[in-house]
Symmetry: C3
């Protein structure tokens, strides 16, 4: 039962009055919206897109025309995504029986705290998970609390004694990540930055290959009559949907020019801004361990903030001893699922043509069918907040 916050209680009241034969799935037109629209349509839902009015890149035209099978039936135009918090917009969403799926851009533009405090329309998943994935201190409490190994935290720059990754809290898109190898290098790099030390997260840079597995956790389908099967986790089931490697500019093509140190001589510093995603699969013998890790993260989420129904992504590095380090977690759909809209080498073992976007729609449909048959509203409280 996720709804302990006031806005969630209000969302449940609102949801009770929805026309359950005409639910609409919505999100902001960005990030994974095409996938979510397409997945919702595969499951028979209509969709709604929230889009910026008068965009120089003609975003509305793009979402209205570019991909026929991923066009929302409805649009709401806003001047700023923050406008979603305004009662006028919220009422408009509610009037259309909308359930919102929060993705990375949604969380970034609207803000995790404001979503919890002010959003009272029904949100898919547990919105209280959002601050835990966007604040690095909370994230570390959660992941290490679940027994996961993370890159070692370095308390102060003076303690840097090998490759270290510097991240700014809440840095958008990795623009303010950088790597240093000594305290001297750290202070050198900080000269031109206006950051405060307290806003920085310094951690060991773990050598290895990066894997971003995309899980889905359903708290409602373990003992369901349709018997959708999966890895048993807490009261629900855990599924692996797909896996990607993030592609980051400029770091991921930096070797076409020279080593980082060489480029520094030219005053060029690599950045870690995500620009895309490459499909990948992991050595099969590592998957059982990965499921243990995801399972522990889900159980810890239950204790800390009431659970994480829906998608989650562990952002991992595999080192030369085949040990995992988890450097981040996303408790919502990630853009790394976008290569797998037609299905993935993992989801094919679960269902045909199964993306994370479609899986979310299946979960909503499953809850809806169950509610309409058994009239027990509690099932909604498991997946909506």
């Amino acid at each position: 039962m996720l709804g302990l916050e006031n806005t969630s209680e209000k969302a449940y009241e609102i949801l009770r009055d929805y026309d359950f034969d005409n639910l609409v799935i919505a999100t902001i037109c960005s990030h994974t919206d095409l996938q979510l629209n397409y997945g919702a349509k595969q499951e028979g839902f209509k969709t709604l897109g929230i889009v910026i009015r008068d965009d120089p890149d003609k975003k509305k035209k793009f979402y209205q025309q570019a991909f026929p099978k991923a066009i929302p039936e409805y649009f709401i135009e806003v001047d700023s995504y923050k406008d979603i918090l305004k009662p006028g917009i919220q009422e408009e969403l509610i009037e259309k029986n909308t359930i919102i799926v929060p993705h990375g851009s949604f969380v970034e533009y609207v803000g995790a705290d404001d979503i919890i405090k002010d959003v009272y329309f029904p949100v898919f998943g547990n919105k209280r998970a959002l601050p835990w994935e966007s604040n690095r201190k909370k994230e570390r409490i959660w992941l290490e609390g679940a027994g996961l190994s993370m890159p070692k935290k370095i308390k102060k720059p003076e303690e840097i004694d090998g490759p270290a990754m510097i991240k700014r809290h809440g840095a958008k898109g990795g623009k303010d990540f950088f790597v240093v190898k000594s305290p001297e290098e750290f202070f050198e790099r900080m000269k031109n930055k206006k950051y405060k030390l307290k806003d920085l997260d310094i951690q060991e840079f773990v050598m290895g290959t990066r894997y971003y597995p995309h899980f889905f956790y359903s708290p409602i389908q373990k003992n369901s009559p349709t018997e959708i099967k999966g890895y048993e986790s807490g009261k629900g089931i855990l599924q692996l949907m797909s896996m990607d490697r993030r592609d980051e500019t400029t770091i991921d093509e930096v070797q076409r020019l020279g080593s980082i140190r060489e480029l520094e001589e030219y005053g060029i510093h690599p950045t870690f801004v995500v620009t895309g995603n490459i499909p990948i699969v992991m050595r099969e013998s590592l998957l059982p361990k990965l499921f243990c890790m995801a399972n522990a993260v889900i159980e810890k989420a239950d204790v800390l903030f009431g659970g994480i129904p829906g998608p989650l992504c562990l952002e991992t590095v595999v080192d030369e001893n085949l040990n995992f380090r988890t450097f981040e977690i996303s408790a919502r759909i990630v853009a790394g699922t976008n290569p797998f809209v037609p299905g993935s080498p993992y989801s094919v073992y679960i269902d045909k043509d199964l993306s994370t976007g479609r899986r979310i729609a299946q979960e909503i449909k499953f809850a809806n069918n169950s509610y309409q048959e058994e009239k027990d509203f509690n099932i909604w409280k498991e997946i909506i907040s």
Copy 2:
């Protein structure tokens, strides 16, 4: 209406006499031929392959046997691909009601200028676009004319003041690309080369991640009765089929040995020869801008040389500020579409199992059906030259 050249007018006359119930789609056995054959068959066409006689690699055996669903019904054997220009071969193609799809190897082996001057059998797309994509000066006029940002052109080696990419006009497969970082390095590298300065194109090397989006532009389907939908562009529609990253030997694995500068100490210089393609998707928030860019390129092509019906690929770099630089364009099917023969994470939003090869066959089929119903030959003039 593409057919302003004499050879195109002749092609139209020839096409008028074709047996439209038995059109054959053909190309040279290389590059994207498997995809084109398979796509043509998916749409009900027979296919023809032009293949080199007596090849040490047994190319004909390969195309005849390796992939059952991509075997041409007909073969024409030649001693050299240039033989396609001979009237005997042209008549043989015409006798079989053939429409040729020019791909990268076709253009490279036969030559853009000779295709325009001497080929009078029907060619899919606008053959007058070919010199515009293969000559770097024309390419720059086209792309910058469309408002696209390109890597800065450096007029003379003395003006190199940072990483610069040196390309030879018409260099085949990237063998003669190299990177220098100063005038001194440029002249050092030129010592052993026999190139003339005027044959070289020197441009800024843009740090970033490379994305090769594959578009398809249909000038004939906007107001069609079947209402195939897409992003409105000029009088037609624009579709994104797929996206790849080129894999280039030796540059794309150079880091397994050392930095470029370190390797130079051993007399090893990286090359940029394309050997394959890796599937990729782009951050969704960048796609609307990308469609604006492709749209502008199509509109400019209309003005400069009568348009580019069919496939086009923008070869882009995304920098750390998420700005695009377009360093090249291909106005024909690219090999980067080959990972997506079974469909792509983008084409799934348009149609099931949709590759660029199949899309080309659909376009020919659409024109053919329309022509057979309405007897207006002009529709062929929109997509054939």
Copy 3:
């Protein structure tokens, strides 16, 4: 006819008594087991998984629950995979009419020599190929004997005169691979290692891009009534199923930190441990040559040890002149096929939804149908040993 060894003769006697309406396909729960289970089920077989008892990563739970369409019907629990050699386990497998598919982990854990000497249950493929692919000297005799170009062998460290790759015989997962550029560097790196010189394989490090094409060779389907077509090779047909690039920690992300030489200053040395696989396609004009190479390898295998029915993978580098070097071969299913469980850009030209795992099941099914119709046991001897 593969069965010249005593254990193979025994396997044939055992197979004669199998209940051919209830064949079971089995392997060790690791490597490509999910794919093999799924592929077997696609073709109507039941499956069996051999799994370690009481594993900290809960492997049995993973294989029983994680992927509903890839769960074995039967499990055999062992304390060590070597236990497969024990008559008790062998009898258990035989009782269930089991055909085992040996994959990389199977060969690694049980051992090629012990499989030949002690395993008398029916094994898919020719088990006598296994020592030829796992011993570097035999591998070189085989591949060079087939006319393939390999990285030059360097007889002693003193002869290193450029980039050289050092591999330890039978090194597991690439942990003990390293690159040196001179004799001095070699001896420096060897200081801390406990290897003997005779256990090492020193070869030229070939600059280029790596491609791992996955072939399937069927000795039984060329003249079959169902006319499954393919590239004619010896008495059978050769098919290309898919292609990947191996992803190796830490070498494949090393550039995110610095060049190898720079990292050595910190005492960090890259490793070549396989952690995953990335899908890739090769420039089409290189494929005919690749088929010639695979064909030659198959013909040489016939001469050397009776042939290689089933999957094989050539591990190649393409250099700047578009020449291939083959640095290894796998004569069994490789993990690089795992990105292609739903099918690949190559297998789509053969059959829908065709993975290597499914292709193996098809081969067993084809032999079984043929045997049940014609009662000629020899067909089993072509694909079982």
